[in-house]
């Protein structure tokens, strides 16, 4: 906290600037891989926001899917393809949905919270699967986006979309880092550690949990919108529980003590998965299982604890996960 200077924001700026620059020289497949992992990392950052308050959501796919379908429906039915506009619509929809569902969920903790989030996402999944106007189980294609209404920017979507994703994830990381360091960020940790005391410090644990659920939902929906444009397609799998489970996996992989942890873990996971799929198509899920086992056994605080150990000066910074 007060020990050692916090250099996270300059480091994030540096890291994302390098990534942005690298985007112009990277092979397209790698650029795509990074874009997908960055978009997905937003969902994981949301999971981390919840985990810091002691909550696990197995239903972030709900918001991820909402975000994705927002891009798809806006493009196909309303002709809205401007990425800044669809992002705003996604945020509005997820705030609304999260605000409504959160009213129920903020009363629950632990396994009950986790199962309810899962239930909500599976409801959305089945609604979409059974609904032909939403593309049913096949989903539908998402028209290519525009950026601030300028289509020339999309002359080379292989370059500009990864750049937009990179910038969005950078902005979110900076904001969330500041959030973790704010009173509300610490209040979340306090809720995980002792709800009775939080109530006796004049704050409502329910309101705190409620706000975090909405925030995590917003992040997931932004990720969903970006993924929809990145892949040009949405389908109900986005809301399926295994999708949500994967995000929890990546959250555990990275750890919850720093905003960069889920981003790094997400990139790593995506790289690992694409190689594992190539090299060992039949056992890659087993490999993932072993990795998770090893992480829980030997690095219960995630990969970030390795990075934190490399830099002892910065450890004090992250003392309140």
């Amino acid at each position: 906290m007060s020990r050692g200077k916090d250099r996270t924001i300059p480091l994030l700026t540096l890291g994302f600037s390098l990534l942005l620059a690298a985007n112009f020289v990277m092979p397209r497949w790698l650029s795509f891989l990074v874009m997908v992992s960055l978009a997905r990392s937003l969902v994981v950052i949301g999971i981390v926001v919840l985990m810091r308050s002691g909550l696990v959501s197995f239903g972030q796919g709900f918001f991820y899917c909402l975000g994705g379908y927002t891009a798809g429906i806006a493009g196909n039915y309303f002709g809205i393809t401007d990425i800044s506009l669809t992002l705003l619509i996604s945020i509005a929809i997820s705030v609304l949905a999260g605000g409504l569902i959160g009213l129920l969920l903020c009363n629950y903790r632990e396994i009950f919270f986790a199962m309810l989030t899962l239930a909500v996402s599976m409801i959305l999944y089945s609604v979409i699967v059974k609904n032909p106007t939403l593309g049913g189980s096949d989903g539908f294609n998402v028209p290519p986006p525009h950026i601030f209404g300028i289509s020339p920017a999309m002359a080379d979507p292989g370059l500009s979309l990864p750049a937009v994703t990179c910038i969005v994830v950078y902005l979110v990381s900076v904001l969330i880092h500041r959030y973790f360091k704010s009173g509300l960020g610490y209040a979340g940790v306090a809720v995980r550690l002792n709800e009775i005391r939080v109530e006796y410090l004049g704050a409502s644990p329910k309101v705190i949990v409620y706000s975090k659920y909405i925030l995590a939902g917003v992040l997931a929906s932004i990720g969903g919108t970006l993924i929809a444009y990145a892949t040009g397609h949405v389908d109900p799998e986005l809301a399926y529980w295994t999708t949500s489970g994967e995000f929890v996996f990546v959250g555990l992989l990275g750890g919850v003590s720093h905003v960069a942890a889920p981003v790094i873990a997400s990139v790593l996971f995506q790289v690992l998965r694409s190689y594992a799929l190539d090299l060992a198509p039949y056992v890659w899920q087993m490999l993932l299982g072993f990795v998770l086992l090893m992480i829980i056994l030997f690095l219960p605080e995630g990969l970030w604890s390795v990075i934190a150990r490399l830099n002892p000066k910065r450890r004090g910074d992250e003392s309140a996960p």
Binding site: M1, K181, L184, A190, N194, V198, L201
Partner: protein
Amino acid sequence: MKALLEVHNLSKNFGAVVAAEDINVTIGEKEVVGIIGANGAGKTTFVNIITGYVKPTAGTVRFQGTDITGQPPRKIIRMGICRSFQITQLFPDMDVWENLMVSCTLLNNPLKRLTRPFDQKGFRDRVMGTLEEFGISEYAHEAVSTLPQGVRKLLDVAMAMMGPTNLLLLDEPTSGVAIHEKFPLMDTIMESVKSTGAATIFIEHDMDIVQNYTDRIIAFYDGRVIADGPAAEVVKNEEVIRYVIGQEPERDGEG
């Protein structure tokens, strides 16, 4: 003396168990009141009702003239009623400094202003001051799980007092603390209370402590108040001797 807290006809039943029966108590500003009673007499229930943790079956609680009966703890705490806990309620995994910083931030910021940075100069200074006042500066960066019981107790009280303090309710502040540490601990707490000008109600089993620090004693038995008056008179009350002092109480279990 101006009334700070007025409790009228307060009753609470937990099923067939009567935890509070027709309690009438008025506490004045800056008054220091001790509550005594055997285990299960209803002392903690009394504190729990005042702070909103338990809703009474009947009766009213007024604080500074405002009816606070049945309000949630967070609303009552914001009015300046603070409490400590018999079983300390700390944030494990955080060190002493962070425990106090979180308390200071939550108590002094409305939720909508919590987006401001946690580590603010004003709060840092306040926490530093509190650490010194309670004599626990040397433990500032120790994890709370490793603290001696006396320090845990002090931290528990210090956390409660990080915001506005008009009335402090201490639930067995010296329980679990070694005998020779009890008086220094109470000295520290009462010194700090005096500087805030708050009234204090504390539950205590140790009669030496009660008589040493209070002007007035309220004795509970079976959910009722059996005596309420100047300390010297209450300890001579026959009922009090028979039901409270006579049987030297055990030191735990009331929660």
